[in-house]
């Protein structure tokens, strides 16, 4: 406890980022430290040169120390440890899980294993202090594209998911081929602002009627075919028009399905999260379509969109309120479902 407030530290190491954040009473962010490799990615043209668990191992103690220091708390004042235990890369997850268990054991602090996807949703509890379930969630990132009905804190039902590529992955791959580089989402977002979104008609993939699932593999291939055809015919591609058109095709499908899901399941709040939540056009079109249907849209600030520790802390806090704790047998679950 610190000044009468419940203190949670959240630890995240499911993929590329090593992160830790401290949150008071589940909602107030006291610190959020992220050790990102993005500058290294850029240097290597989009490929992750050091994705191994070793990277997390080198960073994790420092990241935790910095998160505590910036929050102005000592480990003795920490009431709860939250740690991502899945989904993700097993070697990466294990570093966070082992570290969290070690601290929990040494300092006798309760532990909660957090589902990374629940963490993404919880990022909105930090951003929007009055937001409470139920609501419809839209999680869009490099590894996920999900529409989930959030019935209660950390309790959700999948309404739709990607059957092949995640939206962020499609952005990254197409961006690389068109020459915009990594990270694809932000690069195409920037380029699209100066382009005409109707310049190229990329076919939208809606799947069966009534389905809330996504498929981005087809549009990725269509975009790559377009680039190859134009190049082979010796025509110049207007990169801004290309980015705007591709982005529109992806965002069109996501926003339409998310809003339709809200209507069908009678939710008047739509909560966006995940790395691609930072995409300008996604937010714009989502708000436009949702407001027409009387649905309010929530999204976190950029720093909370990315993988971070604070969102894990918030999710852990709400899980602990239900009396759900983990013990020291907690193990990484790479294929954990939402």
């Amino acid at each position: 406890m610190l000044n009468g407030k419940h203190i949670t530290i959240g630890i995240e190491s499911s993929c590329d980022e090593t992160a830790a954040g401290v949150v008071a009473d589940g909602r107030e962010m006291l610190s959020n430290i992220i050790s990102s490799q993005i500058s290294i990615h850029t240097k290597f043209g989009g490929v992750v040169p050091e994705i191994a668990s070793r990277h997390h191992l080198e960073n994790i103690n420092d990241v935790i120390d910095r998160a505590l220091k910036e929050a102005g708390v000592s480990l003795n004042e920490v009431d709860l440890i939250g740690v991502t235990y899945g989904p993700g890369l097993v070697g990466a997850l294990l570093i966070g899980v082992a570290t969290a268990k070690m601290i929990a054991y040494a300092k006798n602090i309760p532990l909660v294993g957090v589902n990374h996807m629940h963490g993404h949703i919880a990022a909105n509890y930090i951003e929007h202090k009055d937001l409470k379930p139920p609501f419809m969630g839209l999680i869009v990132s490099g590894g996920h594209t999900n529409i989930v009905d959030i019935e209660d804190y950390n309790t959700c039902k999948i309404i739709g998911e990607t059957r092949d590529d995640a939206a962020g992955e499609a952005f990254d791959k197409v961006s690389r081929v068109i020459g915009l580089g990594y990270p694809g989402g932000p690069k195409m977002d920037r380029s699209a602002r100066d382009g005409n979104k109707n310049a190229i008609d990329f076919k939208r993939v809606w799947l069966e009627k009534g389905s809330y699932d996504f498929s981005f593999s087809g549009i990725k291939t269509a975009a790559l075919n377009y680039i190859n055809n134009e190049r082979q015919s010796g025509r110049d591609i207007d990169i801004n028009d290309f980015s705007a058109s591709f982005q529109e095709a992806v965002v069109d499908v996501i926003t339409k399905k998310a809003v339709d899901a809200c209507i069908e399941f009678k939710r008047d709040k739509l909560v966006l999260s995940g790395g691609v939540a930072a995409n300008t056009r996604l937010g714009e079109l989502l708000i436009e379509r949702a407001s027409k249907a009387g649905i309010q849209v929530f999204k976190p600030s950029k720093i909370l969109c990315t993988d971070n520790g604070a969102m894990i802390a918030s999710s852990a806090y709400y899980e602990s309120l239900k009396g759900n704790y983990s013990n020291l047998k907690l193990d990484a679950a790479p294929g954990l479902e939402i």
Binding site: P49, G143, E161, T162, T221, L224, P334
Partner: protein, 155 residues
């Protein structure tokens, strides 16, 4: 995996549509056994994940098989043989494959399919089946070409 598959199949195989690819994969799956490793190569959009989906379906995997690009590997244990689906697109060094415990899968109890496997070609088991997927002449057409290290000469 044994030589029967090579004897029984046309190589290279021209798939005119996704349905052909599923048919081809179904046929291949009949010859697969635990411990087999398939290395897939082909440009972005060639259909490496689609091919893997088809193998998974043939192995009666219940879950949806989606791209493993982000997490590097996805495991499916609901089918008749476990299926491990790798994508090394985001890796740059052979070491990284070791660091994520990749070797354990290669000699594990399931079938391992690896996209962008060229990075680790030197450390793959000698009986790895290589499948190159190329774009065909018309839109939607794909050419599947098999190579097997051990049998390279006889093909």
């Amino acid at each position: 995996m044994n030589n029967d598959f090579f004897k029984a199949n046309i190589n290279p195989y021209i798939s005119r549509c996704e349905e052909d690819t599923f048919k081809y994969a179904r046929n291949l799956a009949k010859y697969l056994e635990a411990g087999d490793v398939i290395a897939l190569s082909g440009d972005l959009g060639a259909g490496k994940t689609t091919f893997t989906k088809a193998i998974a379906e043939a192995l009666k995997v219940k879950e949806n098989v989606s791209s493993p690009t982000f997490t590097i590997v996805k495991e499916y244990r609901s089918g008749i043989i476990p299926l491990f689906h790798f994508d090394l697109y985001r890796l740059s060094y052979e070491d990284e494959f070791y660091n994520i415990g990749g070797e354990d899968y290669l000699f594990g109890d399931g079938i391992t399919i690896i996209e962008w496997a060229n990075l680790i070609e030197d450390i793959l088991p000698s009986e790895t089946l290589f499948i190159d997927i190329d774009y065909g002449a018309s839109l939607g057409e794909r050419i599947f070409k098999l190579r097997d290290m051990r049998n390279l000469r006889s093909l």
